[in-house]
């Protein structure tokens, strides 16, 4: 039972990171209107930016998060210029393949410049454990897990505030609902779409640094399966809805970790994708109430 609860907490924490990934992903898909396979590499860039920040100025988490966000933000501009800007009216598969190309490009450049080996990210957060007693069961929660969950909630709230209270955020929502109508309202759609893509990428970068802290390591190939998981979480939430995407990410995290309690850890991805396929069979639109652009 204790093992079960510990896995549940692990799942919640991992799910929180997936939720942040999914939020970023939904912002990209919602605003730009096209999916990306570069997301895992964007996260890797964020994680490496944080790693080098830790190397340069010591374990300063806020600065590292800022560095991760801005590095991913800048890569987002490149991705937008190469993959999306020209292809808004082209068939979808063209920009899709372009993002696959970029993903290969970044992954291999990273292996050349950052080296192929896994680098350790240690002692960013003190290794403290809190123990709570509920009846006869004692539950361990690490400080790391608490901080990760809190950070995710803070960033999710900040993004919601940004979308609802600022002019740029409202423009982003307008573009995600209808590009044509946004043109008529005098919104510079291309610039707004680029901003949306970059913000989504920036959140990917933050998710990358949280992952690297959570797993104590960073490597050039870490993006691989997380790209698909961000995608899955976001599909669960209906691709464009931020809140439901976050819920989707949380679900995938919990189901993965509960799944591996009844089998072995190698089946992690099988549970994630199996759950996704199951949901898609029953409800193709995911958790969202209706299909359509709604951020």
């Amino acid at each position: 039972m204790e093992y079960f609860i510990a896995q549940l907490i692990n799942g919640l924490c991992q799910g929180a990171i997936y939720a942040l990934m999914a939020i970023g992903y939904s912002v990209i898909v919602g605003v730009v209107g096209m999916v990306t396979f570069t997301y895992g590499e964007i996260m890797m860039i964020g994680a490496f930016a944080a790693y080098y920040t830790f190397q340069a100025i010591g374990n300063n988490l806020p600065v590292a998060i800022l560095a991760a966000f801005s590095a991913s933000f800048l890569v987002g501009i490149v991705v937008y210029k190469l993959c999306y800007e020209r292809f808004f009216n082209a068939p979808r598969h063209i920009s899709l393949l372009c993002t696959i190309g970029i993903s290969m490009l970044i992954k291999n450049l990273a292996q050349i410049f950052f080296g192929p080996d896994t680098k350790p990210v240690l002692n960013i957060i003190d290794n403290k454990t809190f123990t709570a007693h509920i009846g006869s069961i004692s539950v361990d929660i690490k400080l790391l897990q608490i901080i990760v969950i809190c950070l995710v909630i803070v960033f999710a709230l900040a993004l919601t505030m940004f979308f609802n209270k600022t002019k740029a955020g409202i423009a982003l929502r307008a573009v995600s609902q209808s590009k044509e109508a946004s043109y008529m309202m005098g919104i510079n759609v291309k610039r707004t779409a680029m901003l949306g893509n970059c913000i989504g990428c920036g959140f990917g970068g933050i998710a990358g640094i949280l992952l690297s802290i959570y797993y104590y390591s960073v490597s050039a190939t870490m993006g691989g399966s997380y790209s698909i998981k961000a995608f899955s979480s976001s599909v669960l939430g209906g691709l464009v809805d931020i809140r439901f995407s976050a819920l989707g990410g949380l679900c995938i995290g919990v189901i993965e970790n509960l799944g591996i309690t009844i089998s072995s850890a190698t089946f992690r991805d099988v549970f994630a994708f199996g759950f996704l396929i199951l949901v898609l069979i029953v409800r193709p639109q995911g958790f969202a109430k209706k299909k359509g652009a709604r951020v």
Partner: protein
Amino acid sequence: MDAVKTFYNKHKALILLALFVLMCFVPVIIKKTVLIRYICNVLMYATLAGSLNAINGYSGQTCLGQAGFFCIGAYTCAILSKNFGVSFWLLLPLAGIMAMLVGLLVSLPTLRLSGIYLSIVTLGFSEIIRIIAQTWNSVTGGSLGIKEIPYPEFFGLQMFRPKYYYYIFLVIGALFLFVTDRVLKSRVGRAWMSIREDQIAAKSLGVETSFYKSLNFMYGAFWAGVIGAAYAPFVNYIEASQFTTNTGFNVLAMIVIGGQGTLIGPILGSTLVTILTESLRFLENWRYVIYALIIIAMMWIRPQGLVGASDSILAGGTIRRKENGKKKESRKEGDAHHE
């Protein structure tokens, strides 16, 4: 150019037959085993890319999980021939049918889905298949893989040299091209293409879109399974890491570079990609950088691929191009108004 075209159309069967016979003499002329191995690789990838092209190029579904079907074929062949001693020639269609059944399974949830949802389901399936192959120790050997897969026998002749495999791959490739050509010219092929051009219009004209989409997946999966079965004894050792999503993307890149929706495209693409990756081996990781840049450049310059028609729907198509023209104009006006 026109004269060549008319001549080709007139004597199509004869020319292709002559080409096939000429290809048969390649191992006689080229003696280097390494070179023959490369050519075998080209032929194998040409068929694999062709099977993906049957899905992506002809019915317009974006399948990203061809590596999964390939994996099923390879493991079926390896397990059955090693543990039960089933003949290689029987295994070819058997592996194809196994992959086909999985293709049917994949196509079931995708019938209600389209576009990107479908892509993610195929990608997820391919990963699930790979992970199962990697973890099911008792059957697939887990991460150690399967070693010493028996060589195929042809009337008592042990086929272990690349030169024999050359003929196996050549015959499978030729058979694939012939059958696909016939299928595409039949009712089924026309139905696939009508789905690619416009699914709603196809449905309104009485095409059973779900049935034909399902059939399309099964057809593509079948050939991927067949070529997977031929691949297993060729490399003699298979493990799950040979069938990652990168393999799938690699095959996808071949048909994109060659040209989707054409029969010659995948062959051209697999030839170019294999030559590129083999000849640039001295560049180590930089060759993948070049490879990635070529994919991006292809999407910018010729999204329909090297041999694809510029008015194909895969390049932004005739119907959509007119729309695009209008949209572009209105956008320009919108931008001008805004700025």
